[in-house]
């Protein structure tokens, strides 16, 4: 008898939760394509537009829609292209020679003596990495700058310059030994 009750109780509970789950998944369905999210997660988020799309997410959408190739992101370089090829299960596409290696990471800085405080760069910056107000000198928050260089063309006095990201002993990388031997085929 008690077994029967237990079975009935459990069955009711599971039916109830099943319905609840079904309902919530319909009711609270979050818009957003999971494939686009996955692609976007692999893009470097420099937001530079060099892929010819107005940012990383639009490029991710274009890839997902099959409108763009996977080799169009220069900041990501080969690493990103290979990651995309793996994710999407498509053949790697060679990059233009000049983009083959991920370029040296850079950020920009503002020559604060020259800045006239026009705020144009702030509007161009995709990640709000520039601090300043009208007629005040502006400066870059270096840790937030993605190195997209989008703020450079709008500047009327050309006071924004590119500098390489400083490598500290803590962020330095060992290089691959030069005598890379070819491994026998597995």
């Amino acid at each position: 008898m008690s077994i029967l009750i237990a079975i009935i109780v459990l069955a009711t509970i599971s039916v109830f939760f099943g319905l609840l789950l079904g309902y919530t998944s319909v009711k609270f369905h979050v818009e957003g394509d999971p494939v686009v999210d996955k692609i976007d997660a692999l893009l470097p988020q420099t937001q530079c537009g060099q892929c010819t799309y107005p940012g990383c997410r639009p490029y991710a959408e274009a890839i997902a829609a099959g409108e763009a190739n996977i080799n169009q992101c220069p900041p990501g370089g080969e690493t990103t292209m290979l990651a995309l090829s793996e994710l999407l299960g498509i053949e790697p596409v060679p990059l233009d020679d000049e983009h083959a290696d991920a370029p040296e990471k850079t950020v920009v800085y503002i020559d604060e003596q020259t800045c006239i405080g026009c705020t144009l760069c702030i509007q161009a910056c995709p990640v709000d990495a520039i601090l300043g107000a009208a007629k005040q000198m502006h400066s870059i928050i270096e840790s937030e700058c993605t190195g997209c260089n989008l703020c450079i063309p709008p500047c009327p006095v050309d006071c924004i310059h590119i500098i390489p990201v400083k490598i500290e002993p803590e962020t330095w990388r060992w290089s691959l030994p030069e005598s890379t031997v070819t491994s026998p085929k597995a």
Binding site: T146, E168, R173, W174
Partner: protein
């Protein structure tokens, strides 16, 4: 109590290497001369660097704290002698990169005058937490080479129960003898330090493990233990096999236990500390002295008078070499650390830091062995003390397969170099692992940064969207107001001609007119917006 009573086990792999330690243990530890200039790097440990507490021109005393951090994993740095801060700038770091690092430069005044120290006479009147604080303030980091902040390591968390404290005096790497000499000459301080750490983590036992090629050290420690009739501290002589000084390897030898792949010794009730660290803990607690000096082995066939020296942190390596008789003519390579795990330095104008245990000067000209393809002999796997598959790791690392290389436990590799030592094809295997590790860390940093940028970008998009909406809203309101005004004006115009009529009628008419006007206005509005 007796050495022979302890059962020992064997870890996987390892090598018997020629120790070459005797050349630097002939004379007692020498105190290095007080240098004119100390260059003290701000970052000498794993974790966050502290903020500077001094500026150019400041007078400092020996032991005065010069950096401070609120981060948990960090250790302050102290002035190693009294003098004046003459510069705070980037100087070359004793690091494989050869890059610069922020340093405080002190011109010593020769007085070597201490700050006021606060000794602790009765250690057990302090709580473990208070003692940890003393250790933190003293800037102690692991002196075996890893330089991990000790105050963090001796706090394994409330849920961890430490049964046994292991004091690592194995010193398995060839040529290095600073721990050997320290155990011989500072056995009393070592035992005191062990007792303090043991009390702090409430460990029931303490095992001091020493390789059996250091009988003098074992004897010195044994004498102190016998004198003080200690029953919970034991010195254990262990077989000399490289790398028995690796934390996990030592644990295996002493307890047969294996530390889980991504776990800590505290998970299995153990804590491992280096002998030098234990002595530093004694000094910090009992004497109140911060970590401002260490013992460095200056050795190798390329230096005239190999010896061990007690050196102030920040002393230039070149001065130590000079005080050790200088280089032989055929000296050709300066290594920080030992021959197996150390790295080559490009210059000797570099400061001694807390984690520097040895300067090795080689005289054999660097022969670049011709690297041959891997023949899959498996020799590397049979000697790997971490039980990895070095040849697989090598292939994955060289083909930049960073995900798979982690599945094969790259991060369990202790970079001991056993695999490269036995590889018949002379493949510099460890270099590949170091490459893969720093590459993976860098990708991880990039990933964090790009996630952050995505959030900032989305935020900016949302802000622009919101601003657009707000602007549209404002425009709409303005328009409405304008219309109302227009209608009112129109109504006023219509009202004027019809005077002296029943005001009620007028009101009704006006209202009707207004409605009509409104309709008309709406229509015009619609058509205009259609355009």
């Amino acid at each position: 109590m007796t050495r022979s009573s302890h059962q020992l086990w064997r870890f996987h792999g390892g090598l018997k290497l020629e120790s070459n330690k005797a050349i630097s243990t002939q004379s007692p530890i020498v105190k290095a001369r007080l240098p004119k200039r100390l260059v003290i790097p701000v970052q000498q440990h794993i974790g966050e660097a502290g903020a500077l507490l001094v500026k150019k021109g400041d007078k400092v005393l020996k032991g005065q704290v010069i950096t401070q951090s609120n981060e948990y994993v960090s250790a302050p740095v102290h002035a190693s002698s009294s003098g004046t801060v003459i510069d705070i700038d980037e100087y070359p770091a004793p690091h494989p990169s050869g890059l610069n690092t922020l340093c405080v430069v002190i011109e010593t005044d020769g007085e070597d005058k201490w700050v006021e120290l606060q000794p602790t006479n009765y250690v057990k009147t302090k709580s473990p937490a208070e003692l940890r604080q003393l250790i933190r303030k003293a800037g102690i980091v692991g002196l075996g080479g890893a330089a991990f902040p000790t105050a963090v390591k001796v706090n394994p968390g409330p849920q961890a129960h430490i049964e046994t404290l292991i004091i690592n005096g194995a010193e398995c790497e060839p040529y290095i003898s600073c721990d050997d000499m320290l155990m011989r000459e500072y056995a009393t301080e070592l035992i005191s330090g062990c007792g303090i750490i043991q009390y702090m983590v409430s460990a029931t036992h303490c095992l001091i493990a020493v390789e059996d090629n250091k009988p003098e050290a074992v004897k010195a420690i044994q004498t102190v233990i016998s004198e003080q009739a200690l029953h919970t501290i034991e010195v254990v002589s262990i077989p000399t096999i490289y790398p028995t000084g690796g934390e996990k390897q030592l644990i295996k030898v002493l307890t047969q236990k294996e530390v889980p792949s991504d776990g800590f010794p505290s998970d299995i009730g153990l804590l491992v500390q280096n002998v030098g660290t234990a002595v530093a803990v004694h000094k910090a607690v009992v004497l109140g002295e911060p970590l401002i000096s260490r013992i460095v082995t200056v050795t190798g066939e390329g230096v005239k008078q190999p010896q061990n020296m007690e050196v102030l942190i920040g002393t230039s390596m070149s001065e130590l070499i000079e005080q050790s008789g200088g280089y032989h003519d055929d000296a050709c390579k300066l290594i920080m650390g030992g021959p197996m795990m150390g790295f080559t330095l490009q210059t000797d104008h570099l400061p001694i830091i807390k984690g520097c245990n040895c300067l090795l000067v080689e005289n054999k000209p660097e022969e670049t062995p011709a690297t041959m393809p891997c023949i899959r002999c498996g020799a590397c796997a049979s000697v790997c003390p971490a039980q990895l598959l070095p040849q697989q790791l090598f292939w994955m690392a060289s083909s930049k397969n960073f995900e798979q290389v982690q599945d094969y436990h790259l991060f369990d590799c202790i970079e001991c170099g056993c695999c490269a030592q036995v590889c018949p094809s002379q493949i510099p295997l460890v270099q590949y692992y170091r490459f893969a590790k720093t590459e993976i860390w860098s990708q991880e940093r990039d990933r964090i940064k790009s996630d952050h940028a995505r959030v900032r970008h989305d935020f900016k998009q949302a802000r622009i969207e919101l601003e657009k909406k707000e602007r549209a809203e404002k425009l709409r309101k303005k328009k409405e107001l304008l219309e109302k005004k227009k209608i009112a004006e129109a109504a006023a115009k219509n009202d004027t001609p019809e005077t002296e009529v029943d005001p009620k009628k007028v009101a009704i008419e006006a209202a009707m007119k207004r409605v009509q006007d409104k309709k008309a206005a709406k229509q015009t509005n619609n058509t205009s917006s259609d355009e």
